[in-house]
Symmetry: C2
Subunit: 493 residues, 2 copies
């Protein structure tokens, strides 16, 4: 890579690094590996006491008709990047298409836009950035479009046809039969574990296609270890096996395998899938399980949203952080969190990731004592706020509802927008709502039928909470929409 050379590794650590030497076979019984020297094609055998497999994951390129052409690239390593840059320098493409809206797809799209190349992003799912849920991803969709990335969501690439070679142009056909002309195609639909060596050695492979390892990073052969993107690792919340091609867990796994080989009794502490991506001016980050996964696994959960300033609003440079917190509806255990915003996103997810790992519940998030000075945070930080809101819900001090309930309003419910009149004039009401600003509720109680359920909302949820408390104290049945109008807008994009 870039940080070390075989020579530096030798002189610093006395470790011999053989580049351009490929291991082509493992003999478990003899405890040897067969290696091919790629320079002279000679093959030779080396013995091992312990063997660590760290082959990583390779870009998955689906078998699409016409996909093999000189204008289509995937991006795994520095030579791949050099090839793409060389192609850009030579062809000066006016337009590029990125297929796949995960970490790599988004970073490539941004890099291409910074070179002033028009970009279309094609993503099979209805959203980019699979680790977060769609309402969070919708902020990214806005950001991508604001920076000139054309989005084709819920679309798949079906066929690629090359025009005349001198055109340096491809015609792409999507699964809705729409066509797209482009000068560069980056395939970034995902990665798959590199398991060929392991398969050939009859090492156990998991259901998801990664090398199976135990808590000590041992494969089904006790002398062979495997680490990194090639393995399946246990999910922190469920313990289920999963593929998590992330640098930080790979780092921990490599270190652990070495320690175990030298006699340590340490075990791997599972993977939370804490991740972050820069998308133009936004950061998006998550840890733990998302709502899609919780639904798929039919796990009980509740969720709250907070939109709060990254630091004290009166100090320059504050930006809203949108935080979604998922938790167990009875125990309050932290199941997952997602955040998006221009500033302070990494910090909030890190804080929650530590809390989750330590076994804290959402109740504990209220009392976390975090750095506060106006340039850095608030006396009641975004994370504290999320903890307060979740605790209110957990303890039954506040009933909440979610924006998706708004599609099933009935006659026995009154939807009340408690924002100020000027906000409503600017942004409009949610269909079916009446507007009574929070500060005017006490003088407008005649408009609220005590027999009905009152559903309140404000811009982000805080004034809705105040309104809900007020009305609950007066004997009304009230629910507050968590995350308010802003969350509804994000979810309704």
């Amino acid at each position: 890579m870039l940080l070390q050379t075989p020579e530096s590794f030798k002189s610093r650590f006395n470790v011999e690094v053989r580049v351009l030497n490929e291991v082509i076979e493992i003999n478990k019984t003899a405890k040897t590996i067969t290696i091919r020297n790629l320079v002279n094609n000679n093959e030779y055998i080396e013995p091992y006491d312990a063997l660590i497999l760290s082959p990583g994951a390779s870009p998955f390129v689906p078998p699409i008709k016409g996909i093999k052409n000189h204008l289509t690239h995937s991006l795994r390593n520095v030579p791949d990047m050099d090839a793409i840059i060389a192609l850009i320098d030579k062809n000066k493409p006016a337009h590029a298409t990125v297929c796949g809206g995960g970490f790599i797809g988004l970073e490539v799209a941004e890099a291409l836009r910074q070179r002033n190349i028009k970009v279309t992003l094609v993503e099979f799912a209805p959203q980019v950035m699979g680790p977060v849920d769609i309402e969070i991803a919708n902020m990214l969709h806005d950001e991508l479009e604001a920076h000139g990335v054309q989005l084709k969501l819920g679309k798949a690439l079906q066929e690629v046809s090359e025009c005349e070679p001198e055109d340096q142009t491809l015609t792409l056909t999507l699964d809705d039969q729409s066509k797209l002309t482009t000068n560069l195609l980056i395939m970034a639909v995902g990665v798959k574990p590199e398991v060929s060596l392991a398969v050939n050695a009859d090492l156990e492979i998991g259901e998801l296609g990664g090398i199976k390892v135990d808590d000590y990073m041992r494969t089904s052969d006790p002398s062979i270890y495997a680490v990194g993107d090639a393995i399946e690792s246990p999910d922190f919340v469920t313990g289920d096996s999963m593929l998590a091609p992330l640098a930080a867990p790979a780092n921990r796994q490599g270190r652990l395998a070495a320690n175990v080989i030298f006699g340590a009794q340490e075990t791997y502490k599972k993977t939370q899938v804490t991740a972050i991506c820069k998308v133009f001016d936004l950061a998006v980050s998550s840890t733990g399980l998302n709502e899609k996964t919780l639904r798929r696994k039919a796990m009980p959960y509740e969720k709250v949203y907070v939109h709060a300033a990254s630091h004290a609003g009166y100090y320059p440079g504050a930006h809203p952080v949108t935080l979604k917190l998922l938790f167990h509806p009875e125990s309050g255990a932290i199941l997952g969190a997602q955040a998006v915003g221009k500033d302070g996103v990494d910090k909030r997810i890190d804080i929650i990731a530590v809390a989750q790992r330590a076994g804290l519940s959402v109740v504990d998030l209220q009392d976390l004592e975090l750095c506060y000075a106006p340039p850095f945070g608030s006396a009641r930080d975004v994370v504290n706020q999320a903890g307060l809101v979740a605790t209110n819900v957990l303890k039954g001090d506040e009933c909440i509802f979610h924006n998706d309930h708004l599609t099933t309003l009935n006659e026995q419910q009154i939807l009340v927008d408690v924002r100020g009149g000027n906000e409503v004039a600017k942004q409009g009401l949610i269909p079916g709502a009446i507007n009574i600003p929070v500060d005017e509720i006490r003088s407008n109680l005649d408009k609220l039928d005590k027999q009905k359920e009152i559903l309140v909302y404000c811009q982000v949820g805080l004034r809705g909470h105040v309104a809900a408390c007020l009305l609950t104290n007066l004997g009304y049945k009230v629910k507050n929409m968590t995350g308010g109008f802003k969350t509804w807008q994000l979810a309704s994009r």
Copy 2:
């Protein structure tokens, strides 16, 4: 203040706020308070079921000769600030003196420099920013001087004399009899709890001068609660009472008192003293106990230093974070942490503050799974690194020594600088050291007497660790200096 008015509080929360009304007496038996209307001087009595005292803390101004003059101000609230600004606008002072190098003193010094006023900072202690230890504060001293703040450390103000009134000039005499001419004097030596009401009501006052409360924020009278800067709160690590005038704990205490009054069984979760301050381009932050306090309380501790990039070094905008981690030498319990740097300081202290609160040890810090993408962090974050280093020490995998041992080198020790020759040429050796770059140790073993103790150091500690491993494996007795030359430099300023 700025965020609410009596009217907004009334309409939003139906809470009556009476400004310009001072409570002058509490009658505990009758459960009444006597209030003076400061507009018409009328006194009247109100009953209470529960009473919450939140009088805060006021600036402590020592009884220095001549201190009462129109050019001397302290800064507690917005009117104080307005008065200082008015004086600056009127007098256009060329020079200001700030007495006290805590949060307020440092922020005022920075604000004055931004108005291009020359500033001298006088601090009685040998360092600014008491919550951190001196080697960390030394980075602030450099930063302050680099921004034109003249430092008078270890000095106290002894006398103030006013020149002719039309001069708008004060002459300050310090305790070393040096004199200083200044046009504005800001007194920011500290705050003391406002306890006069509580004292007159015979409520129990703690040894440190704050109102004594229990875990429910109740004073010695069960119907009277007290919160905020006026109280003593229990230290998270030791449980000892202390004064911690911080916004975030005050926020939690106020909320808790209200909940308890309404029947909640919650208790206060102690104060870690997590704090942060911006000092020009640096942030300095800490949580838990510092080394000064650990020494004073004669508590066992070990410490490690890490200097690591705020995010991946190859991505623009990375700056070193200097992190000091204090822990129990047997259990590995996190006792405290301090960090200073241009970027990512708040995040690292928040992470450690959560870990400390959750009862994690330094061993757990290794495996925290934090956000990683090059703009935000490293695959092995600063906090992970500190955890790895501390764990090595805790488990006896590495012996370390501290820079203060360098004053007591003996004949049976060899001090080896393992940095590269060019670094040594630029920065010099620590007196008494020989230079053997880490990558050349294996070929220079003849220079190292196996009978002696080898003390190695590098720039920040990492190559020293590699050298220590290498030599330990070869049978040498080796210790590595934690934090390396950089920490030694900071400590030796």
